[in-house]
């Protein structure tokens, strides 16, 4: 199980995957936006998206949980 957390304060611009999706290492899970920059958040393992904790338009803080990959 791998937790994916936010590295910075950001807005969730786009959610690419949904719970139950199968993902591979390097796949984009969500795209954040901070200070006019797009920051893709990638899966760091192969697995299934067990939990997805953010929705488009959310403002998230550094360290917030974005997703859990199992």
């Amino acid at each position: 199980m791998a937790e994916v957390r936010a590295e910075m304060v950001a807005n969730v611009w786009k959610v690419v995957v949904k719970e139950g999706d199968t993902v591979s290492d390097g796949d984009t899970l969500v795209i954040l936006e901070s200070m006019k920059m797009e920051i893709p958040v990638l899966a760091e393992d192969d697995g299934v998206v067990a939990q997805l904790k953010v929705a488009e338009g959310d403002v998230i803080q550094e360290g917030d949980l974005i997703a859990v990959i199992e």
Binding site: N11, S34, M35, K36
Partner: protein, 454 residues
């Protein structure tokens, strides 16, 4: 008299540039009116204006980019003129027209000039016709991937992909092959749809031949009433990350006096070709080895890095903008002397340059002879993720480049910022980098610095 023609000036912007414009507006005896979002209520520019109007929530589309709200604030406060700063509505011709139609003075060039230059494809074609060199590239908007692939085949890889209407490096990237082009095209098309206020006709993308070891050198121009255009020297903006400027200097250490003369003359032709009024910047790419240049684009507004020009010329560009907009024809004699360098202090980590917003717990600016700081924040403010990461511009001025570099080292070391991540450590590193200190650098410098330390 400025006080009669302009009276009060609304600044349709935020942060350091709003604060810097307010300073000159007040010095000239005019009233300064700020507009701000909820997220910016505590920033110095709001406090330092004579009057401030809350125009909406943090999201720029509902505040700083909302034409109706800005105009309503202008009417409610009796503003006679609007200064757009840079970014946001500064290069929005429809906004300029709306300001003029509302009977106010637009502090910028005619909307027609903004239109002509705002579309980079049109600007390229226009410049070519005026006898200004341009890079090989597309002459029509590229509106889908298959057209992009075809264009790249004609131009030859690597190609630079950018949005026809955008600015500030957003959506720009280099493609070395068809796969790369697909990614670059999609990124540019997305950026076109999101960041330009007027992406109504679908994304228009532009491809140009990419020059591998180029310097980015731009010429400051000023168009005067009556059609005369003067060039106020150049700025070298080759220190870039993600195609966005980090450090600028004047004069450029990478061009010969002959090339400088040709570039300044071409920039004047560019301005004259569009009947340019006020402050504008003609951006060029310079092939440092061949000592040749091509026109890149024109920015029809005050530039972020304008202090560099102010330091070497002794001029106040905002004052000149205001006087020209009021119909005056100020006497401008630009004989630049000395050397100026600007460091953009960004809220970002100094290694990967990723955004690092946060609350400022300590903020202490350097000061003294040859040091100028244009900042948008003080201790206690929060740098939010809603706007660009520029917190301050640290500028130094010396009698020559060596003196400016030494002042830069001292000033960077004396600048304390705690809370948000910041790139001051990068600036310190740059000031010890041999490519930078010798002046023999190009737009690939930052990438090379990071490739070595990765």
């Amino acid at each position: 008299m400025l006080t009669e023609t302009l009276g009060s000036v609304l600044i349709a912007n935020r942060g350091e540039i709003a604060r810097r414009i307010i300073r000159t507006v007040k010095r000239l005896g005019l009233r300064a009116i700020a507009v701000h979002s909820e997220a910016d209520a505590d920033l110095p520019f709001v406090r330092e204006a004579d009057e401030a109007v809350l125009i909406g929530p943090a999201n720029p589309a509902q505040s700083y980019l909302d034409v109706a709200k800005v105009l309503e604030a202008a009417r409610a406060t009796g503003a006679r003129a609007i200064h757009p700063g840079y970014g946001f509505l500064a290069e929005n011709a429809a906004f300029a027209r709306a300001v003029i139609d509302a009977g106010m003075v637009w502090i910028g060039p005619a909307p027609e000039a903004i239109d002509k230059m705002g579309d980079k494809i049109n600007a390229r074609n226009l410049m070519e016709a005026a006898g200004v060199p341009v890079a090989a590239g597309t002459r029509e908007p590229v509106t889908d991937l298959s057209l992009a692939l075809k264009a790249a085949e004609n131009i030859g890889y690597p190609v630079m992909v950018k949005t026809a209407g955008g600015g500030g490096g957003i959506g720009m990237s280099v493609a070395h092959d068809d796969d790369g082009l697909q990614k670059a095209y999609e990124q540019a098309a997305r950026a076109a749809a999101r960041f330009s206020g007027d992406a109504l006709d679908g994304p228009a993308v532009l491809l140009e031949r990419y020059i591998e070891r180029a310097r980015h050198v731009e010429v400051q121009i000023l168009g005067l009433p009556g059609g005369r255009v003067v060039a106020l020297g150049e700025r070298d903006c080759s220190v870039q990350r993600r195609h966005q400027k980090v450090v600028e200097e004047s004069p450029s250490p990478g061009i010969s006096p002959e090339l400088r003369e040709r570039m300044l003359a071409a920039a004047v032709r560019v301005g004259e070709a569009v009947g340019y009024l006020g402050a504008g910047t003609v951006e060029c790419l310079v092939d440092a080895d061949k000592q040749d240049f091509v026109f890149l684009e024109m920015n029809t507004r005050l530039q972020v890095e304008h202090p560099v020009t102010e330091l070497v010329t002794g001029l106040d560009l905002v004052e000149l903008q205001l006087r020209v907009a009021a119909g005056e024809s100020p006497e401008v004699r630009a004989e630049p002397s000395g050397h100026a360098i600007e460091f953009r202090v960004y809220a970002e980590d100094p290694k990967r340059f990723f955004p690092g917003p946060g609350t400022i717990t300590a903020w202490d600016e350097p000061s003294g002879d040859g040091v100028r700081v244009d900042s948008g924040y003080v201790a206690g403010n929060t740098v939010t993720p809603f706007y660009d990461p520029l917190m301050a511009k640290l500028c130094v001025y010396g009698s020559d480049r060596a003196e400016a570099l030494e002042l830069g080292r001292k000033a960077v070391a004396e600048f304390t910022v705690e809370g948000p991540k910041n790139n001051l450590p990068f600036c310190a590193e740059l000031l010890e980098n041999a490519e930078f200190t010798t002046g023999d650098y190009d737009t690939g410098l930052v990438a090379r610095m990071r490739a070595r330390t990765a």
